[in-house]
């Protein structure tokens, strides 16, 4: 099982505070293929064939980058290249990517089977031996962050630097000051899991409260000057404020 380092076309999730777009009013019925891919993904996680969700999130972020840069190493037919994939479609591509990375499927098999299904040949359903367990079993580092550094009430600042690959700190909070309001426990670092790192940090996670005025400055609507944002932040993303 190889680590998957950040791809050049990986994009952190952007946040556009000036967005004024309307929200979809109609609640669209979920397509069957979307239910199917979600169920396959959840089933394989429940059977511990697939690791945590984080790698699929990371793969989904790469997909938008691939479309933006028109970098189609995944098989995307011409008629789909002119728009970003929709929610369920992105999920199909992300799950497929992770299944290939973990060795469950190969691109060649997928291509062949797709063409075969399209030309309607009979399936050759020879059964292969089942391989147990997830191919990804990292070593857990419980020592580096064994003692949480912050207490409830501490003032903290979010590190003001983006890092490559999948991150779980929203970009709109970079450099912002907040207050620890709760200790949430320790969790495996999703940023390590997302890239199949061989070593995964077990990290303290804090609920941090931010004043809306601190986060948005002049953009903060006057009616929200007393309002708050509460966001969970993993310890390496925080710096103490003396």
């Amino acid at each position: 099982m190889k680590e998957v380092p950040p791809n050049v076309y990986h994009q952190p999730i952007p946040h556009d505070p000036q967005d004024r777009a309307d929200m979809p009013k109609a609640e669209k019925a979920v397509s069957f293929f979307e239910k199917q891919i979600v169920s396959i993904h959840n089933l394989m996680r429940a059977k511990q064939q697939l690791p945590s969700f984080d790698s699929v999130r990371r793969a989904a972020e790469e997909i938008d980058g691939r479309f933006d840069s028109q970098n189609f190493s995944v098989d995307i037919p011409a008629f789909l290249r002119s728009r970003l994939p929709r929610y369920g479609e992105r999920r199909v591509l992300a799950v497929e990517t992770v299944l290939c990375e973990l060795g469950y499927l190969t691109r060649e098999e997928l291509r062949q089977e797709f063409d075969q299904a399209n030309s309607d040949k009979a399936d050759d359903t020879a059964s292969l031996p089942q391989s147990p367990g997830s191919p990804y079993s990292p070593e857990i580092d419980q020592d580096t962050y064994a003692n949480p550094s912050y207490d409830v009430g501490d003032l903290v600042r979010v590190v003001n630097q983006i890092k490559a690959g999948h991150i779980r700190t929203p970009v709109y909070l970079l450099g912002k000051q907040g207050k620890v309001v709760r200790f949430q426990g320790t969790f495996l670092n999703p940023e390590d899991l997302a890239h199949f790192k061989p070593q995964v940090l077990q990290l303290p996670l804090y609920l941090v409260e931010f004043d809306m005025t601190e986060v948005w400055g002049a953009r903060c609507p006057s009616r929200s000057r007393q309002d708050k944002l509460q966001v969970e932040i993993y310890e390496p993303w925080l710096k103490p404020i003396p």
């Binding site: 999730i13 929200m23 069957f32 089933l43 779980r168």
Partner: protein, 226 residues
């Protein structure tokens, strides 16, 4: 929330495998393309023995059976039983277990309470994290939209008023919970006036999905009689 609509039957369910009489032109229709691409993934993994078609079908059925009714039961119980509410606020997963609600996929469930002084609203600006095991496996379209994810953290009062007709009084603090990490959030809305003496199951009917995300209030008794 109504049950899942009928039109979600897969093409392969409508048309038995044996009766393949479609044309063999290359696929150029979006939906058909994704249906086939997904079916290819399932077929290959089935053939390799990772799961059976029946297992996938059962999982789809299980996920379809999870509706916001589960969340509504938690809220109604919390409204009538202060001890339960305390336990729900302290440890969401343990309280769910008391009510035989399976939250195995949620690592940490935090239940927050809306009151006359604070109003919580939930978003995930990074993807679409959502307490699926208690509100349903497929969040509403607006919850997944970039518009909601971009706007609600900047102007929560504007979004609630303009998009949902929910007006939060000026003297109520708004707290936007951005679920970016391992916790999933569910909101206990304020119990509606005029429900003194209502029993738990009657109260359940007043708890709507959007009120457990925090974009609306629980329904009033008058609305529910209509």
């Amino acid at each position: 929330m109504p049950n899942q609509p009928e039109q979600n039957k897969s093409p392969s369910e409508k048309e038995p495998e044996a009766s393949h009489d479609h044309s063999h032109e290359p696929i150029s229709d979006d939906e058909a393309y994704w249906v086939q691409r997904t079916r290819v993934i399932q077929t290959l993994l089935e053939r390799k023995g990772y799961f059976t078609a029946a297992e996938v079908r059962q999982e789809i059925e299980r996920e379809d059976s999870v509706t916001p009714m589960l969340g509504a039961r938690l809220v109604a119980r919390a409204w009538v039983d202060p001890g339960f509410k305390d336990r729900l606020l302290a440890d969401g997963k343990a309280a769910c277990q008391e009510m035989d609600i399976d939250t195995v996929e949620i690592k940490r469930l935090e239940v927050v309470e809306n009151t006359t002084s604070v109003h919580h609203v939930v978003v995930c600006t990074l993807c679409s994290c959502y307490p699926r095991a208690i509100l349903g496996y497929h969040p509403p379209s607006w919850y997944k939209s970039t518009a909601y994810r971009h706007r609600v953290v900047v102007d929560p009062r504007g979004v609630l008023e303009e998009e949902f007709g929910t007006i939060i009084p000026d003297d109520v603090e708004m707290r936007v919970m951005d679920s970016t990490a391992d916790t999933r959030y569910m909101v206990i809305p304020v119990r509606p006036d005029g429900t003194d003496g209502w029993d738990e199951s009657a109260l359940t009917s007043l708890v709507n999905r959007d009120s457990m995300i925090g974009v609306s209030f629980s329904s009033s008794p008058d609305e529910s009689l209509n």
